[in-house]
Amino acid sequence: MSTIDTRTPLIEISNLRKLFKLRGGARLHAVDGINLKIYPKETVGVVGESGCGKSTLGRSVIRLIEPTSGEILYNGRNIMKLGGGKLRELRKDLQIIFQDPYSSLDPRKSVIEVIAEYMFIHRQFKTRAETYNRASHLMDLVGLARRYANSYPHELDGGRRQRVGIARALSLNPKFIVCDEPVSALDVSIQAQILNLLMDLEEELGLTYMFITHDMSVVKHISNKIMVMYLGKCVEMATSDELFANPQHPYTKALLSAIPVADLSTRDKDFVTLRGEVSNPINVKPGCRFAKRCDYCTEACTSADPEAIEVAPDHFVSCVLMRQEVKAI
């Protein structure tokens, strides 16, 4: 999967930050200096636990949330400062599928109206008939029977609602889609249907995804490259196979071992349980964000932010331990 790296990235994020100002002047560091390259037709998975900033990152990348600082290049063009008509034009290319199919659809619009809405906003077609025709085709594409066209979201189950959300995201022929936990609210059998659909669409339409999830097995299944986030920072990034075969950061290791696998051979193994819980990202001090819960924490961990070290081709780990290992060699 690393052969495609010679091309220009579709999305290139450098040192992206999003700070939220809180009452009393405190700052919440939701996304804290993220660098990421996403190549065309690649699926980059972003994993982490609740509150690690993965959704904020996803929204910042497509400027649904205004990032505080940093740079976002789309096809080599900086989109941080775009406004007005140019930003609206950009929105067609960059779309998002939300986690909760229950709250992300307007309850007073029928399925076909929801799907057609973006096309009306962007005046994609001259006539209503053409727009609705395209919307019907989108329903076919995502596997929604046309008889649901005039149903309202509350009449559909979670899986079908998520299909509506996907059809809507596809309506403007986007190049890049942020999938923000698109299957978390669904039952396993429905989850598998939606994952298959997303992978088919990627293939058919040449889409590029940023896939945000907390589910490690889902992210492994769908991604080429995975970024593990912890409190606004990227702690480890590698290709999907490499990350699972050869995790390096103590947090990634703990995260992987914490997954209950549907396999009896793991039954008597103990989880590598982490102490404590994710601390809060308010007014963070320099140093590794994971230090408090880490068994290998030393003084070096709390003095400065650990830099990303390339431990293998395209495998980056932000951990002091890696530095010493490299030095030792």
């Binding site: 609740s50 298959n196 549907a262 103990d270």
Partner: protein, 324 residues
Amino acid sequence: MSETILDIKDLWVIYKTDLETVHAVNGIDLRIGKGKTLGLVGETGAGKTTTALSILRLLPSNTGRVLKGSIEFHGQDILGMNDGQIHAIRGEKIAMVFQDPMTSLNPVMTVGEQIAEAIMLHNEGIVTAEVDRRVDAMLGMVGIQASRKDEYPHQFSGGMKQRVVIAMALACEPELLIADEPTTALDVTIQAQVLTMIKDLRNRLGTSMLMITHNLGIVARTCDDVAVMYAGEIVESGTVEDLFLGSRHHPYTDGLFGSIPSLTSRAARLTPIPGLMPDPSALPKGCAFEARCAKRMDICLQRHPEKATEGTHCILCHLYGEKS
């Protein structure tokens, strides 16, 4: 086989409203042995929680109704008990942990008071000092500092709240703990902490457990026996070995396993179950899974399947019944 603690036989539960009758549980049999954990697996709407609520007699009184069947706890029929008798069991002998720790705690009572309430309710005349001691002990057991007992639920994180709920449930040292998706609302690392804790406590106190979950990984990790529920029926049951290592399965169980992305191998595509669960207010006459089943036969549409049993392993499917 160990001594039976809970024995459910041919339980049927409906929810009846003016508009429709929902057939939530349709003739299930379940048995939990002393010190054992039974995993009840299924998707949303399969009837897992309804089963749990029936055991505690907590079905909504205006709509929920047990049509027939029996639930015996230590040989006593729970369904025939009067209010006084069930009060003596609920919370004390059988306790429940609900899915969402955020909504199962009282926001205007400190966590210490809430645990104390459970202890006082079931131990009449207990002295305050003893209650305090036990509250501290319970909090210690679930890994929360006793000094935090004067705090309110909102001051705790999700994982901590679930620990408090578990401490409350275990405060009276129940013989049976019903855990309804106890870790679904939690992050994986916190889930691992809570599961490890539940397992330790169970080993220490010898509590039997009904673990309701949709996660087969959790079943593999924590359960001794498993029952797979679909549209109000147990379609497959047996020991964890029967389910995870056995060669014959209900097509629905196969579908569930095929839907989980694997961590160890890379499959290009998942093999999900097509379609949706049937509407529980209009269940088909034959097999409830027929419409989604890849192995359906003519008979599936016409006749309801019967249980095919092989040792501890039961499968409700025409594929395996009446082989002779």
